[in-house]
Symmetry: C2
Subunit: 191 residues, 2 copies
């Protein structure tokens, strides 16, 4: 996606240790129009996957997952990191290590919304180590639903997440923009 | 909004203590198409407010704020509850009591995205006691920006938030659906 890549090149900042600051258009302030384009393109790539639901993790996955769900005309579920009082006790739970927070985060989904007959497309803002997406995919398996694809807005290919996901789950993995190197303050685009 | 009201009547559940469970279409699973209608209607009501940014609080405000921002063709900012490593140290901070969690939550916005020349429309999923929205409005004041309006998807009129906001900030307050009574397990719609 040329528009997204240009925006990262112009506004993205390499904060070191693989941290890409894109909070002026992706994950604090969100460019709503760009996010619609992101959703349309992810929707186009998974148009034939037969998804009945889009699944993401709160917080920063919500915007691209919502616009992808719109493009596919299906509902979107965001996994919660803390159990709201409205969520039943029998929620599905999986843990994922957070390398930015240095701890484990739990992801919870209610069985009321994720059902065995669902065909689930996972969407997140970043594909890096793949740990969060792997936890989402395990939630899908746990519910008895079928995982049909994994999509990310930005992939950091040097963190190896795609290989992990492909080895664990046999589904197509798509990313709109790939970054292949962030060493020495650079932001190098792949492909 | 007839469609939203019908959906609340059909799927909403009164869990007691003023807690309305709408997590099958608003705030866990999100009906993407309905959320677009919500954004279009909020956008229509504030079409002449001159907003340059929409501001909300993570997590459940993100979906309606994003679709409202789309309708108004402006960016959306979601205030964070914990400081991400990408946020500068001089972030604006305000505290709000959370009556569902029984503690205070902090809301943070980066001065990089909220600027003195911004005209800000606040959007959230619920208007109840008004405490979260009041904290967002104080963030706007703190940044030097101008608050131009406050919109909510669902208002619980019996919790008095609107009166608090109108007394503190002199801006229009709009809600798409009003609930006037949740005593004795009921869900009574206002107006």
């Amino acid at each position: 996606m040329h528009e997204l890549r240009e925006r990262i090149a112009r506004e993205g900042r390499n904060l070191g240790r693989g941290i890409l600051k894109v909070d002026s258009f992706i994950n604090h302030q969100v460019d709503a129009r760009l996010m619609m384009s992101v959703g349309r393109e992810l929707g186009r790539r998974f148009a034939h996957a037969g998804a009945s639901k889009v699944l993401t993790a709160e917080i920063s996955g919500i915007a691209p997952a919502l616009t992808t769900a719109l493009a596919l005309n299906v509902p979107v579920i965001y996994a919660r990191k803390t159990k709201p009082i409205t969520m039943p006790e029998n929620a599905y739970r999986e843990k994922a290590p957070s390398h930015t927070k240095g701890c484990f985060v739990e992801l919870l989904v209610s069985p009321e919304v994720l059902r065995p007959d669902d065909q689930v497309l996972i969407i997140d803002d970043f594909l890096a180590t793949g740990q969060t997406i792997s936890a989402l995919a395990r939630l899908v398996k746990r519910s008895g639903a079928t995982l049909v694809g994994i999509g990310a807005v930005i992939e950091k290919t040097f963190e190896g997440g795609r290989a992990l996901l492909v080895s664990q789950f046999e589904v197509p993995v798509e990313a709109l923009v790939s970054i292949s190197d962030m060493s020495n303050g650079r932001i190098v685009f792949g492909e």
